[in-house]
Symmetry: C2
Subunit: 223 residues, 2 copies
DNA sequence: CACATAAGTGAACACTTGTACACATCAGGT
DNA sequence: ACCTGATGTGTACAAGTGTTCACTTATGTG
C-alpha cells in the first residue's frame, strides 16, 4: 500500500473505465501522495493542498471530500502509522526467539521496517517537532503505546523483574526514545547504502545495550 | 539578542532617523523574525521570504541582500545556535561544582537555557528532521561537537575512566541524544507551566542517571 | 425503479508568493 | 570631492495558493 504509481490513467477528463473506482481510493491516493512527497525530501509542514492533489493525479477540490485540511490528513496518517508500528511489534514478537540476541534482532527488525516504510517513518520523525500540535500529540501517543507494550513484553518474558513498574516504564520510554532518535540517523543516510545502515544498526544496538545495562543495575542506586 | 521588538519605527517609507542604522541590523532582524515565527508555532520549513520580511518589518527585496534563500538563513541560524550551545556549556562548566549533583545541575542549566532561548531550540528540534539537508547536517554536527566536549569534560574530571575512548564517545552521544529528545517534551509544554517543566527535568535527569549507570557497568559485558 | 448520497470535475475568485528591476541613500577609501 | 559598493525601498508581474460554486456521475438502499 501507498506505493508510488505514476498516475495510471492520463489526464482523461472523464472516468470511462469499466473498472469501478473502489470507495476510498482517492483518499488513499491522497495520503500516499503526501507520503511520497515527504519521501522525496519535502517537509510535511510545507505541503499544500494543490501540491498533494497534483501528486495524486486528482483535482484540488477532491481533497475536501476526504480531509478538512492538510493537518487533518496528517492526523489520519498518524493513525495509519499506528498500524505500521503494530505490525512491526507483531513481527518482533514472533521472530525474537533467543533472549540473548533480543536487542540485536529487535533493532534489525526495526531497521528493516523503517527501510520498508521510509516515508512513513520520515513523516513520524518530522511530526515530532512538527507544526500541528495534534499530529505531534498523536505521534507522542503512539510512542507511549509502543513503550507500554514493550514493558508488557519484558514483564511477560520475566526480564528486568527487579524493576518497579514505574522504573520499567522509565526504561522502556528511554528505549523507545533512543530508537526514535536513531530514526533520524537512519533516514539521513541513503536507503541503499548498506554499510551506513549497518553502522546505524550497530550503534543503536549498543545504545540499547547500554540502557539495559543501566536498567539491570538500577536498583542499587535507587536509595 | 534576537528579542521580539515590535517594529519600533512605523511604516516610514523613508529612513529619516538621524541615528544611523548599524550594519547588519536588518540581517539580525530577519533572523530574529524567522525565530519569532518558529516560536509562534510555525515550522521553519513552511516559512516564506515574504512572511519573514513582513515579520521583520522590512521590504521583501531586502532579504536577498543578506541571504540567498530561506535555507541559507537557516544555515546561518545553525551557526548562531553553536554560540548558544557554547555559552550553555561554559555556564555548566562554571556552575557544576559537586560531582554527585553533576547530572541534576547540568539538566537544570540545560532546561533553563532551553526556556530562555525557546525559539532557538525549537528551531534546532525542527531542523533535525527538516527539509534542508545542509541545516540537518549542521545541527547534527553541533551535537557531535557538544558530545565530544562532554567527553573531554568527563575525562578531565577523571570520571568514567574505565571506559575506552570509543565507549566514552558512545556514552556521550547517547547522553546528548537523550537530552535532545527531551527538548521536544520541554518545548511541547507551555513555557510557564512550572510543574510540567519540572516533570520533564526530573524525567530527563533519571534518563541520564540510567545511562550513566549503564556506562559505569559497561566494561563487565564488553567481553 | 427511483432517489438520496457520496465522490469526482472544471471554472473562477481573491490573495499570496518568489523574484527582477530601477532607483535612493549612506560609508568609506582614494 | 567623487566614485564605488553595500544596503534599503517601491513597483511590477507571472505563477501558485486555498476555497467556493454549480455540475456530473456512480452506488447502494428503500
Amino acid at each position: 500500500m501507498y506505493t508510488c504509481e505514476p498516475d495510471k490513467r492520463g489526464t482523461g477528463k472523464q472516468m470511462t473505465d469499466k473498472q469501478r473506482r473502489r470507495p476510498g481510493e482517492t483518499r488513499e491516493k491522497l495520503m500516499s501522495a503526501a507520503l511520497d512527497l515527504v519521501g522525496k525530501g519535502r517537509h510535511f509542514a510545507s505541503l499544500g493542498i494543490r501540491e498533494i492533489t497534483r501528486q495524486a493525479g486528482v483535482v484540488p477540490t477532491s481533497f475536501y471530500r476526504h480531509f478538512r485540511s492538510v493537518d487533518d490528513l496528517g492526523l489520519q496518517l498518524v493513525d495509519e502509522l499506528g498500524l505500521v508500528l503494530r505490525r512491526m511489534m507483531r513481527e518482533a514478537r514472533a521472530n525474537v526467539l533467543q533472549a540473548d540476541k533480543l536487542i540485536e534482532e529487535s533493532v534489525a527488525i526495526f531497521v528493516a521496517h523503517a527501510q520498508a516504510n521510509r516515508s512513513f517513518f520520515l513523516f513520524m520523525a518530522q511530526g515530532l517537532a512538527g507544526e500541528s500540535r495534534a499530529v505531534q500529540e498523536g505521534i507522542r501517543s503512539e510512542m507511549r503505546f509502543f513503550a507500554s507494550e514493550l514493558a508488557n513484553d519484558l514483564r511477560r518474558l520475566r526480564l528486568m523483574e527487579h524493576l518497579s513498574d514505574t522504573d520499567l516504564d522509565l526504561t522502556c520510554d528511554l528505549v523507545v526514545r533512543t530508537v526514535a532518535f536513531s530514526l533520524t540517523d537512519l533516514l539521513s543516510v541513503s536507503a541503499d547504502d548498506d554499510y551506513q545502515v549497518g553502522q546505524v544498526r550497530k550503534r543503536t544496538t549498543r545504545f540499547l545495550q547500554m540502557v539495559f545495562v543501566g536498567a539491570a543495575h538500577w536498583n542499587s542506586r535507587s536509595a
